[in-house]
Amino acid sequence: MLKNRIIPCLDVKNGRVVKGINFVDLQDAGDPVEQAKIYSDGGADEICFLDITASNENRDTIYEVVKDTSKKCFVPLTVGGGVRSVEDISKLLNCGADKVSINTAAVQNADVVVQSSKKFGSQCIVVAIDAKKNGDKWEVFTHGGRNNTRIDALEFAKKMEESGAGELLVTSMDRDGTQVGYDIDLMAKISSMVNIPTIASGGVGDLDHLVDGIKLGNASAVLAASIFHYGKYSVKEAKEYLDSKGIPVRI
């Protein structure tokens, strides 16, 4: 039976982890490789890096991070943030990323998704959808949540599936950082609309939220950042909790 995945996400800026695990025995809390290794040793099913480097001149730092991490972590590695073109995707994959997540570029030009999934295979193309509720619908945001495109998130999800995305990473902008749980309504709607796996993101504050993302939101995988970073829960504890709730996980 296919297991639901737990994906810890690390924010990386100028090659350093911004919010990370705060363990006393950590040699270097800002080292993305060390943090990723802790997660993979702890049973993370995948690792996600979100590059939030703002300036263009430091953009290349992520490639070194990916290179080093992929030599130490032997679980899938997804990298997103600032991915603009098929060339960017190619570079990240060559450095050792297994999947690349595309956000703004996919909204601006769906052809990036079409071309890259043809070239590298759908399995490594994740489209990240940042959505915010407006009345009875959800709108797609780009540029790290700063720009409202007014595009309907559900229609966009369908379009991305048709363009060749292998997975959809759905983040609720309303919930992100709030720790009150995923936007289950949004997740469930998108999951039932598409035939590709969905990843729930944005808003996790406790382990029941992970359960809800899978049971109610029908997500194949759940992504979380802060609950793992600040040591509130370990990946292992999260998995044991999901297991106790009857959710199939890899233990």
């Binding site: 639901n4 032997f74 679980v75 899938p76 295979g121 796996p197 890899r250």
Partner: protein, 208 residues
Amino acid sequence: MNVTIVDYNSGNISSVINSFKEVAKDKVNIAVTSDLTTIKASDKVVLPGQGSFKSCIDGLKNINGLIDTLNEFALESKKPLLGICVGLQMFADIGYEENETKGLGWISGKVSKIDNQGGKFKLPHIGWNEINIKKESKIFKNIENKSHMYFVHSYEFVPEDKSVISATTDYSTNVVCAAEKQNIFGTQFHPEKSDKIGLKIIDNFINL
């Protein structure tokens, strides 16, 4: 010992390279190339594969003499060869992804889309799934039945002779996830992405 990972523009093979280098340490030479002489002189060959069946076969064809060299390595010299993901699928006679495409024909069978039961099962089949070991295999030495492996695929290898199946996984149907015929080994899952247990399979192959 020399192990060659065949580099034929089959997509992203960095993870395969990293995992083999991690396991090999300094004991084994890992080459990454499409050079025919190097392949011929190798003790073992790894045939990775990402993307579609057709794009991988086209990739092999685009390198002059590569298919002949692989045929010779696997069928005449009978040296160990490991196909991963589409690398395994290409052992078949024929594949149906994109267009109908002729495979290497090393293990009779076809590659067709997983029956997702009208949308009940999402495709691609992405994530960790248990393997059901069907027969004793040297690459499964010290690997427990029901171990978790990482999968990413929408197509499955359906061999004619079921005795070549060394493991299956349960996703909609019993999907063949490892096949073996004498010196030819293949896994549908990605040992290079399957954590320590996956590295153990790579270690087993290197130590054959």
